[in-house]
């Protein structure tokens, strides 16, 4: 993407809090009118980055640009009120001493606070008629809607969403996610969402920025991130992954030998000199029932024999953990109408291509490895 249509550009931002290097040269771009998700485990620095964008923290080095305007750089840091950056905090943070209407109108010039704009915003979030309610009289979801309306009322250049759905229950969370998405699209607002929830990032964002240990390690569309993670950590953080040690790079281009046999790979096989890993998503492993062979042609050469060790049911599908004859643990996704039992013998077939990547490096902090 070009930086010309970037609503927000962050370049090499670092920030240190005493012993903790929160940001270590993070760079990212948020295209105008789209939703960018900053995804990462807790402690990766994503909240610090958000607070630097908002102007609540001053970076040690690096620059923050909003549109063409430099708001934080080597010798300057614009105060938050001049940045035109709106924020929707984790729990809404509505002002408890004033009603809904005054909350939404808080950022508007005095005469407009109870005027058309406020009414319009409340209608936008579906809360017309709630003007005179106090924040504590609203449900969690309603509070978040008011917080969103309050933020959008001033038409900020960038809206920052700080894990705004984390405190809600599952149904409400899904509902509010899609509604927020719709509102941001309708108002053509540039938004940056901070989250540790990969589902949320993948389902809502146009661009996902993946962070680890104070650095942006990858950014791209949700599809790109899922299909082509930069390393094994990224592969496991964005979805489930099978990591197969490569025993030898095949003589044929696009084919490698792994512990479950030959697997075709995408990407450059020649660059992988030394040990490598072939990554397969669970849905790339097809499970065949070997105990109740109902005449389908299952036992081809490519089948790997395994035993089901655990099944996690998800409704639309289930995640099947298996152990191969060579002792390798793998996960496969199977449609839920396919009946499988723990202890059952199955055959595994690979579909599609695996991604070749370097083996995991154990240099990063182990406590940052989980979400």
């Amino acid at each position: 993407m070009s930086t010309q249509d970037a609503a927000l550009t962050i370049d090499g931002v670092t920030k240190r809090f005493r012993q903790v290097q929160a940001l270590d040269g993070a760079s990212m771009v948020a295209p105008t009118g789209t939703l960018t998700a900053i995804l990462g485990p807790s402690g990766c620095g994503k909240t610090t980055l958000l607070r630097i964008i908002a102007g609540f923290e001053v970076p040690d080095a690096g620059t923050v640009q909003i549109g063409e305007r430099l708001v934080a750089g080597p010798d300057r840091s614009e105060p938050p009120e001049l940045r035109s950056v709106g924020i929707v905090p984790q729990d809404g943070s509505l002002f408890p001493h004033i009603n809904v209407q005054d909350n939404v109108g808080f950022g508007l010039p005095f005469k407009q606070r109870r005027g058309f704009r406020t009414a319009e915003m409340l209608e936008l979030v579906g809360l017309s008629g709630f003007e005179k309610r106090r924040p504590h009289e609203l449900s969690g979801g309603q509070q978040q809607r008011v917080a969103l309306a309050r933020c959008l009322a001033t038409s900020p250049s960038v809206v920052l969403l700080d894990e705004p759905f984390a405190a809600l229950d599952a149904t409400l969370r899904a509902e509010l996610r899609s509604e927020t998405r719709r509102l941001l699209r309708e108002t053509a607002t540039t938004a940056v969402l901070v989250t540790h929830d990969q589902d949320e990032a993948l389902s809502m964002a146009d661009t996902v920025v993946l962070m680890r240990a104070g650095l942006v390690i990858q950014s791209g569309s949700p599809g790109q991130l899922y299909a082509n993670p930069v390393d094994t950590w990224a592969a496991q953080f964005v979805g489930d992954a099978n990591l197969l040690p490569v025993t030898s790079i095949g003589l044929n281009a696009g084919l490698v030998e792994t512990s479950i046999g030959s697997v075709s790979v995408r990407g450059d096989t020649r660059s992988a000199d030394g040990p490598a890993i072939a990554m397969l998503r669970p849905e790339q492993l097809l499970v065949d029932d070997l105990d109740h062979d109902d005449g389908r042609p299952s036992s081809s050469n490519n089948t790997v024999r395994a035993v089901v060790s655990q099944i996690v049911f998800h409704g639309h599908d289930h995640l099947v953990s298996v152990v191969t004859e060579s002792g390798l643990r793998l996960v496969a996704r199977a449609p839920s109408h396919q009946r499988l039992n723990v202890g059952q013998r199955v055959g595994l077939r690979v579909t599609g291509t695996a991604l070749l990547m370097p083996p995991p490096q154990h240099t990063s902090h182990p406590d940052l490895e989980q979400s």
Binding site: A54, G55, F56, P79, P80, E81, L82, R83, V85, G86, I87, P89, Q90, D91, S93, L94, F95, P96, H97, I98, F106, G107, R134, P135, H136, A147, R150, C151, T154, P156
Partner: protein, 521 residues
């Protein structure tokens, strides 16, 4: 299925697990009666001879002067103490003042010194201060912590996300201060101010030593000055009515505060303090001046006089010290014994009856000590002659005055003890009273102890009720300081005042510790 469910629920309604029945209800009723009867009887005593004497007494020019003086002193003190308390709280809670922890603690300390001790040191330090400025100065410098503490608490609870959101919505630091910070601490400020007003209305020691005659002093003079005690009762009732007005105001603002608190969580971060910059030194000087005036004057005078006093002998001090401890500790024990059942009932069995029991105990605390004392005198003379001017009646007066302190502290700590634990204990075969003793009270012990310490501290400082009700020859530190100062014998009272401050400090330390233990739970 459905019918069995219903029969189960009906059975469980009928056999609600009782909490120890009479063992709790009786003490709770005793506590409520002790708190209620004095006022009711005072009203009866004041109107015994019909309403005519009441009208005559209230409309006397002397009475109107007393009302006027009380009102002027109350309003002036409340305004000045609120400003001082607010300013100190903002400096400590919202700026980058250096030595913040030190100032935070030291600025609350004047609360530990009784106003009559402060008044006594002023009388000795400044030769003959004028009554009004003297009383005003003493009360402002002693009462500002009533505003300082709640406002500081509100500032600490303030969610930094609120000020940040306000900034990102285009408001400067000053606008955020005006539009968010001040409105959010306003309930704390209001209720703190009303506490100051209540305190000034009921203060007896400082105003009487400063010879600024207010209603409390009028009641006392009327009581000691004539054989007909009906005028004293009428003045007492008048003071009660004025106080009740302030209490109602206070309760109203408390409702508003509750709504604010319920919507805010405890913040994980603290608000970034405003930088004082070049004002740092000037602000430090201001705080030094506040502390020098509120703690320095009484402290230095006490030290000076104690050293200079050549009549310092321990035996002279040991008798009032012993009397103070006996009175205060008996009162504290009685209050705790009655507070526990009331608190348990109001938390675990909330109903109209138990909430009446609880709120009736709060009545006494908002009433001036002199009024409770007067009512106790009437009751003692007429109905309780065997214990009149004996320790038990003084203890009952302490209960009427200080039971709410113990109830409030006990209640909040019992709220923290999860009912599930009691249920677990009951299902393990332990009876209700044993559960109370082995589970509930164990968990809430720090809070109960804090309540006891609070009552003990209040009892040590208490002057008017002790003065009127003490057994003959039973001199406490408080009464001794008051009598010595009344006859202008400043040096003689110094060791007693010193002992009083030390005792107060010890109770405060115990209280802090108990609060701390309660907080870590």
């Amino acid at each position: 299925m459905r019918s069995t469910d219903q029969s189960f629920s009906r059975a469980s309604v009928r056999h609600r697990p009782h909490l120890g029945g009479a063992a709790l209800v009786l003490p709770a009723i005793v506590g409520a009666v002790i708190a209620l009867v004095p006022v009711v009887y005072l009203a009866f005593r004041a109107t015994e001879r019909g309403l005519r004497p009441v009208v005559v007494e209230v409309s006397r020019p002397q009475t109107l002067t007393l009302i006027h003086r009380s009102a002027v002193l109350t309003i002036a003190t409340t305004v000045l103490a609120s400003l001082l308390g607010l300013l100190c709280a903002l400096i400590v809670g919202a700026t980058d003042i250096r030595c913040k922890r030190f100032w935070e603690v030291v600025l609350a300390l004047p609360l530990a010194i009784p106003t009559y001790v402060v008044a006594y040191t002023w009388l000795g330090t400044f030769s003959d201060p004028a009554p009004f400025p003297g009383a005003l100065g003493v009360l402002v410098l002693s009462c500002y912590p009533y505003v300082y503490l709640p406002v500081l608490g509100a500032l600490k609870r303030l969610d930094p996300a609120l000020t940040e959101v306000a900034r990102s919505l285009g408001n400067s630091r000053h606008q955020v201060f005006r539009r968010v910070t001040i409105p959010l601490v306003r309930p704390a400020l209001t209720s703190g101010s009303l506490l100051v007003a209540l305190y000034v209305l009921s203060d007896f020691g400082a105003v009487s030593l400063m010879r600024y005659d207010t209603l409390t002093q009028g009641i006392y003079l009327s009581y000691v000055g004539s054989f007909d005690r009906t005028p004293a009762a009428i003045l007492g009732l008048l003071l009660v009515s004025i106080t009740a007005g302030v209490v109602i105001l206070e309760l109203r603002t408390r409702g508003a505060t509750a709504a604010m608190v319920s919507s805010a969580r405890t913040p994980q971060r603290s608000t970034i303090p405003a930088s004082l910059g070049r004002m740092q030194a000037a602000t430090q000087c201001f705080l030094v001046a506040v502390v020098a005036a509120s703690l320095g004057i009484p402290g230095s005078a006490l030290v000076r006089w104690t050293i200079a006093s050549d009549t310092l002998d321990i035996s002279a001090l040991s008798r009032p010290l012993g009397a103070t401890l006996i009175a205060a500790l008996t009162g504290a024990a009685a209050c705790t014994a009655l507070a526990v059942p009331i608190a348990v009932l109001s938390v675990r069995r909330p109903s109209r009856a138990t909430s009446f029991l609880e709120s009736s105990t709060y009545l006494g605390h908002s009433l001036p000590g002199i009024v409770i004392a007067l009512a106790m005198v009437f009751i003692g003379v007429r109905f309780l002659t065997p214990i009149y001017q004996r320790l038990p009646l003084l203890t009952i007066a302490y209960v009427a005055l200080f039971l709410p302190l113990a109830v409030a502290a006990t209640r909040s700590s019992i709220v923290q003890a999860p009912p599930a634990l009691e249920e677990a204990s009951r299902s393990l075969g332990v009876g209700p009273l044993a559960t109370l003793r082995r589970v509930t009270l164990r968990i809430s012990a720090p809070g109960v102890a804090a309540g006891t310490a609070l009552v003990a501290l209040a009892g040590i400082k208490e002057l008017p009720a002790t003065l009127l009700l003490r057994p003959t020859g039973f001199d406490t530190l408080a009464t001794q300081i008051w009598t010595d100062t009344s006859v202008a014998d400043y040096g003689r009272a110094a060791p007693a005042a010193m002992a009083m401050v030390v005792l107060g400090g010890i109770s405060l330390a115990i209280l802090n510790r108990a609060n701390h233990l309660g907080g870590t739970r």
